[in-house]
Amino acid sequence: MKSLKTWLPALTILALTPLAQGDEFTDEDLKRWQAEYEKVMEKGEKLFHSTLGSNKVSCDQCHPNGANTHPETYPKFQKQLGKVATLREMINWCLKNPLQGKPLPLDSDEMIALEAYITWERRGVPLAPGKH
């Protein structure tokens, strides 16, 4: 019969090694989650290109491909709002003013979708918070 001494290291290793469960994720998971994101991003693209206000104006008219929205610069001081604001607050400003429409709740699905699309079109650009 082997002594405890020989078994102990093996036991210790077993005890210290975490079991293969918990937060691990697989390639499949990554693909699936990416697809979830893309679904929302595409919804945002549709919203961005539709007339969300009351005057037949759509976001892409002034911002083709989301250009000049500069999501990488938020939060920043926004003259229109008189304070340091976030992208979503500025989206609401556009909905209310140039589009003469109603604002979205900041955590609504539509707002998240719009943000997903706007940031997608600006992917790769380094963050520059505060930049005018």
């Binding site: 005057n55 037949k56 892409d60 083709p64 491909n65 500069h70 556009c94 003469q100 079109e121």
Partner: protein, 360 residues
């Protein structure tokens, strides 16, 4: 003893070489920045473009776009001395609807000087230009004014199979209206107009100043947004032999100017809204003419920011463009006879730029 510039150009044209003068010859024949002698009387005209009047319902139109056009019209009427004529640069309507075009005609009827019309894709694609041709103007034509030959082109045509793809006129119009449409189709002048242009130009000698008016730029800037004309080189080739050619175009809703060989290109302002520069969309390779000093960056705060109209002086065959910018400093871009390309009279030098002119 120095070869006179006109003779030189004629020889160059005869040998088919693009009209780019060697710097030294310019100095010999003119001295520093002196203009060649004019063969025509100087004159001034106004340019209003890209109003995108949008019908909501009944008698309602998008307020912001109406306001822009009304302001331009009032200002043109207050010009002193009165301009010889006004060019309307296209995209009077947003979706080419009868209501929009009628509304635009009604507003434009207040203009006192005569109007020459250029059609834009937003006016055209709902009914393939039918209303425009019947009620407003021929789609392409030419006219002479005080010794200058003006040509108006319909440069927003496109490929037949794209046109046939759509099941309703409005679907076709909406797909052309969307600037960033991945299913878009590039603009073109097309073979029959090229043929017409060739015959039209044949009657004029190389010394005649030529001004071409089109909606889309007659050169290639950024294809994803149709800042583009597919057969631009063919048009440019037909214009090559003339001493002095200027192309005035709309469509881009921004300050843009360039020189390609003997042709100066000026973009006209929009009364409706400003557009980002292609450099602002980083997912695709992009470029903007190096010459252009960008307009002061649009601040969405004020509805008239980045919008306006243009006053154009034609003198010695070249055009000076006075950009009338409503919420920004006016800009003057003039043809520099020494450098042989347009320059902004205040901001051209890199150290003269101001922060609002930096776009990213």
């Amino acid at each position: 003893m120095a070869v006179n510039r006109r003779q030189f150009l004629q020889r160059m044209a005869a040998t088919g070489v693009a009209a780019t003068l060697p710097f030294s010859l310019v100095e010999i024949s003119w001295g520093m920045g002196k203009k060649p002698t004019t063969e025509h009387e100087s004159f001034t005209f106004a340019y209003i473009s890209d109003s995108h009047l949008t019908h909501i319902k009944g008698n309602q139109f998008t307020r912001n776009f109406d306001q822009g056009l009304r302001k331009a019209i009032m200002e043109v009427n207050l010009m002193s001395p009165r301009p010889d004529f006004v060019i309307y640069g296209g995209d009077l309507a947003q979706l080419g609807k009868r209501e929009e075009l009628d509304h635009g005609l009604e507003l434009m009827s207040a203009l006192r000087p005569p109007v020459h019309w250029v059609t834009g894709e937003h006016d055209f694609y709902l009914d393939m230009g039918k209303f425009w041709e019947e009620k407003i103007s021929p789609l392409y034509y030419s006219f002479d004014h005080k010794g200058v030959h003006f040509v108006v082109l319909n440069s927003i045509l496109t490929y037949e199979d794209w046109i046939k793809r759509w099941s309703t006129p409005m679907e076709r119009m909406l797909n052309m209206a969307r600037l960033d449409n991945p299913q878009g189709s590039p603009f073109m002048v097309g073979e029959s107009q090229l043929q017409w242009l060739k015959e039209d130009l044949a009657k004029y000698d190389v010394g005649t100043p030529v001004v071409v008016l089109s909606h889309s730029p007659l050169y290639k800037i950024f294809k994803p947004w149709n800042f583009w004309t597919d057969d631009a080189e063919k048009v440019q080739k037909l214009l090559q032999r003339f001493q002095r050619v200027t192309v005035l175009h709309g469509h881009v809703h921004q300050v843009l100017y360039n020189q390609i060989g003997n042709i100066t290109f000026y973009a006209m302002m929009a009364t409706a809204w400003p557009w980002p520069y292609p450099v602002s969309y980083v997912q695709k390779p992009n470029q903007v003419p190096k010459l252009t000093v960008f307009m002061n960056r649009a601040d969405p705060f004020h509805e008239r920011d980045g919008t306006g109209w243009d006053i154009l002086d034609m003198d010695s065959g070249a055009i000076t463009n006075h950009y009338q910018l409503w919420m920004n400093e006016n800009r003057t871009v003039a043809f520099d006879f020494k450098l042989e390309h347009p320059v902004d009279l205040k901001y051209q030098a890199p150290d003269k730029r101001i922060p609002p002119q930096f776009h990213y």
